[in-house]
Symmetry: C2
């Protein structure tokens, strides 16, 4: 899955948002938009850069949009919606994106997404989906976030020749702690997880619990520039990271159910 990482820790990181990124529309060539914005701002990617892209713009470019008026909720969705106090059409969309409900409470629906993420509302979002034109839309997660990341990585590599990593990030709630933090929904070209188990510590003892959520930490750092509310800064470049472990896609960050004590 992952292996050791002997790269030294960086002395500094520079994290920059691509300025004046345009609003993304369904069908847009997102890699093209990122490349153009990078050129415009003089921030073309170099080897070792990690390009972090907000889930919302990936989902929009991939047309992962549902017109709620066209959704006919099932009896189950209607029952769950009544229980949690949500729009039954939205609950229908959430359930259709989910394997199962993990917890439900008023205004709170935590599910296991079909991709394995345990998250609120299956990541289905009603804010910022489009103009307030009276059409109620919901935005779904990308079909395959690791694939989306790999597609962007390949396109940006073809354009700039740099060996980069790409992360699709999103804001997730957590058990036990308040507030959302950025996490890596998908990743390509970098180790999403770094395994330090068995490496000696400073005093020669073997370290024990040392799987590092590398891509999640990068995703959280990028979130500090993106914010959560708008599309103002959906693309962030992290420069200065080092890694030697082989690439591992973001799905490697999902804890298998058999190892999960909190599902």
């Amino acid at each position: 899955m992952s292996s050791g990482n002997n790269a030294p820790h960086p002395a500094r990181l520079l994290i920059s948002a691509l300025p004046d990124f345009p609003l993304v529309r369904p069908g847009d060539d997102l890699a093209g938009l990122i490349g153009a914005a990078a050129v415009r701002s003089g921030m073309t990617p170099v080897d070792g850069d990690v390009v972090v892209v907000a889930q919302k713009v990936v989902s929009k470019a991939e047309s992962r949009i549902v017109d709620l008026a066209a959704v006919v909720p099932t009896p189950r969705a209607i029952a769950v919606a009544a229980e949690v106090g949500k729009d039954p059409r939205l609950v229908e969309v959430i359930l259709s994106e989910s394997r199962r409900i993990v917890r439900k409470r008023p205004d709170m629906l935590i599910v296991e997404h079909r991709l394995g993420f345990v998250m609120a509302n299956a990541g289905v979002d009603q804010s910022n989906v489009g103009p307030a034109d009276g059409i109620e839309r919901a935005l779904l997660l990308p079909e395959n976030p690791d694939g989306s990341a790999e597609g962007l990585r390949t396109a940006l590599h073809a354009r700039f020749g740099a060996r980069i990593g790409v992360i699709i990030n999103d804001s997730f709630g957590r058990a036990w702690r308040r507030g959302t933090v950025g996490i890596a929904l998908g990743a390509a070209g970098l180790p999403a997880l770094i395994d330090k188990r068995g490496e000696p510590d400073l005093f020669g003892r073997a370290l024990r619990v040392t799987l590092i959520g590398f891509a999640d930490e990068i995703a959280a750092a990028a979130s500090l520039l993106m914010g959560q509310a708008d599309e103002g800064q959906p693309v962030v470049i992290v420069r200065g990271l080092r890694w030697s472990a082989p690439a591992l896609p973001g799905a490697g960050l999902i804890r298998p159910e058999a190892q999960d004590m909190f599902r």
Copy 2:
């Protein structure tokens, strides 16, 4: 608890580790060491900087060290130790730092720490505590991480005159996701949590779920430079963040048990 944050998102962050930080010993003046390292490297703090300090060096400076040879495990600790396959003396120390056990499995003890953190082993660490001199030591979390952060903030402010934030960070495992990420164990001088609820999105709709784990995202970003294994880079300065919300200590990030569906 927290209020809106109208500060614009930063265009760039510069995250730097203080180089050549000395090994910290019990009783050391940590603020003094940080100040000296900052001066030495030409990285004296300026208004708006956030100084992130690894829990381990805070705990060491605060002499939060237990000699395991002096620990006499209770029958309960002996029973739990047998069940999870750990040293009974270590389990005794873990239990004495905990309110209760949340989950236990072989080689895994997840507890509610006396401060409210749900975490593995109550944060008690046996690696990197001191030289391999035959004495088995365990390192505990700081007595009061928010107080530790406030103490460092006050001392650094007195020395440099800058209005800074301070975060004590640690690496935590998570439910549902593999790998540890940096989180804020304590914070001072900045809003640990930022409340964006009620702010309009780009299209004028009110945002709903938008409590941001600000200090946790900063802690995760700093972890990318610190690593987890050693003390090589235990102090990291994050420059470029902006906030307008009032300061909220790190304890604000702990989800109250009554609101927690996963304890």
